[in-house]
Subunit: 327 residues, 2 copies
């Protein structure tokens, strides 16, 4: 690692002068500035941001905590968040929290110890208290953490409703919802509420077939097989695209005629699913807008950590991608 | 943020005593140690690692630079690397370098400024010099950077050979390779070499249909359409699973009978492809072993940055996942 003394030696001046140039402090001639900048460039010297952070400046590090980037939706979201943060001069510390409470807790402690400037949280394991304890600026995706943490999400209610309506318009009358059946106040649960309200409006009977986020694929397949074999179902609203793909696969194994006898719609609509599962209808979340807003709100919290929030909940519009699986 | 003075106040002792407990320095009674630890726990105080890093200790940060985590293979690999680093007490700074040279260069500068302890590099944009300049411990995935940087990769040659043999055994005789046609000394290019040697052994004619990594999906589809419409082809070795999925989709659009008239095999075999593209045959890279080895080698470089390398190239075994697309 190149040191301040190396720059000073190369530039033919004192360490104090180099330090003054870097911190733009005190009188310096243009010639001196040029000499020092030239030496810094030649040696590829980077002012030490660790040292700067001790002088009360920011570390320009942001912790990004999400369940798993191997889910294509979270992968896309984290990539876009990382890009947005990069544009604003921040680096991303990635934490895949999976379903591991202990890992998420340890990460929060590590992030505090490393003095990140803030956290973008999209994981599902911990409650309000652990995040509050950090004393750091936080914004949340799709998850209610506390009254003083802004939440960004898609309009999940409209999505659940639109998915249900799409199946109905294409002829389905026995429409099931597959996903987490618990209504615990988090934004994603509004997909189920949107389904329920639309089903009621249409005069149909609601059916919720529970599966758990993070459950093994084998268990999910078993539950879906049971549903397709022993229930009268001709339409499925899946809580996410991976569940929808699993329904599609199980239905194929059971030789159910798709989409004639069973119509399926997913949720999330990542670019990956748009490109590589070209048959699947889905509700598309606006990942670019979500990422931009999360980073914008975090920057506001970093700049004014003690301001009272003007708005806590932000909902971004979804759209329908209607393809073969619904027709 | 809780300060040392808060801990001292809570514990009823001086700041110096608290500092001694944290740094385990000088004589301290058990009673004093207990008081301070209790106060730290109650206030959730974290010793400031930024301050510690200035005392010449490590930051426990590692930069991880890969093309894009929205590719399921890289997503899985980065997630596993993050997990391995976490187990060893490191945090991951994520950089999606995409095909953006300028971004990768800026990241390297930022990583130096932030004094990461090392870098795991899997991106494809920059040459040796930029990485050398950092003066940091580096290990590389699938990419030759310099004689002093260890490279971990799968046995790409065996993979290319096995893929070709698998198509042949299942009856294909006009076997094309789709991927990057340039042989530039990087490990991934050995897939093509493995294909070429096996084709020669089998007494067949080699055909390489060039596509570029990072090319838009539309261009790739157009190139594949041209291949399938105007060439006599009954088997395809794709350089990666996403290209294989695109071949599958284009063949479907052209009403080619799969797999009777066209057999396809991919490369990478991420868990995602195993689960959600259940028809696709592929060569599986051992992502867990790759991640473990990358982190292990990086730790060795961090501990002994100036040691001469005993070994530069590490190759891990691949395996065949043979499914519907080859039968």
């Amino acid at each position: 690692m190149v040191k301040l003394t190396d720059v000073a030696k190369k530039a033919g001046c004192s360490v104090t002068t180099v330090s003054r140039v870097i911190n733009n402090y005190g009188y310096l001639s243009e010639a001196t500035k040029n000499k020092v900048h030239k030496a810094m460039a030649e040696l590829n010297y980077q002012p030490n941001s660790v040292a700067r952070s001790l002088q009360g400046k920011k570390t320009q590090l942001v912790g990004v905590i999400f369940p798993s980037i191997t889910n294509p939706f979270f992968g896309e979201l984290v990539e876009k968040i990382e890009n947005e943060l990069f544009k604003e001069g921040y680096k991303t510390i990635l934490c895949n929290a999976a379903n591991d409470k202990e890992k998420e807790r340890t990460y929060l402690q590590m992030l505090m110890a490393n003095q990140v400037d803030g956290i973008i949280a999209g994981a599902h394991n911990l409650g309000i208290d652990e995040y509050k304890k950090t004393g750091l600026p936080i914004v949340s995706f799709d998850r209610k953490l506390s009254d003083n943490i802004p939440i960004v999400s898609s309009d999940n209610f409209a999505g659940g409703s639109l998915a249900t309506e799409t199946l109905y318009k294409n002829g389905a009358r026995h429409i099931y919802f597959i996903g987490n059946p618990v209504l615990d106040g988090h934004p994603t649960q509004k997909r189920l509420q949107g389904y329920q309200q639309k089903i009621q409006e249409l005069g149909l009977t609601p059916h919720v077939h529970p599966t758990k986020f993070g459950e093994s694929l084998e268990l999910k397949e078993m539950a879906i097989k049971e549903l397709l074999q022993f229930h009268h179902v001709d339409g499925i609203v899946a809580s996410d695209d991976l569940t929808a793909l699993t329904v599609w696969q199980v239905a194929n194994q059971l030789n159910i005629k798709l989409p004639q006898d069973l119509k399926i719609i997913g949720f999330d609509g990542s670019q990956y699913i748009q490109n590589y599962a070209p048959f699947l209808s889905t509700i598309v979340q606006p990942t670019s807008a979500i990422s931009e807003l999360l980073v914008k709100l975090l920057q506001e919290r970093i700049a004014h950590p003690n301001d009272k929030l003007k708005q806590i909940t932000y909902q971004l519009p979804i759209k329908l991608l209607n393809r073969k699986s619904c027709q």
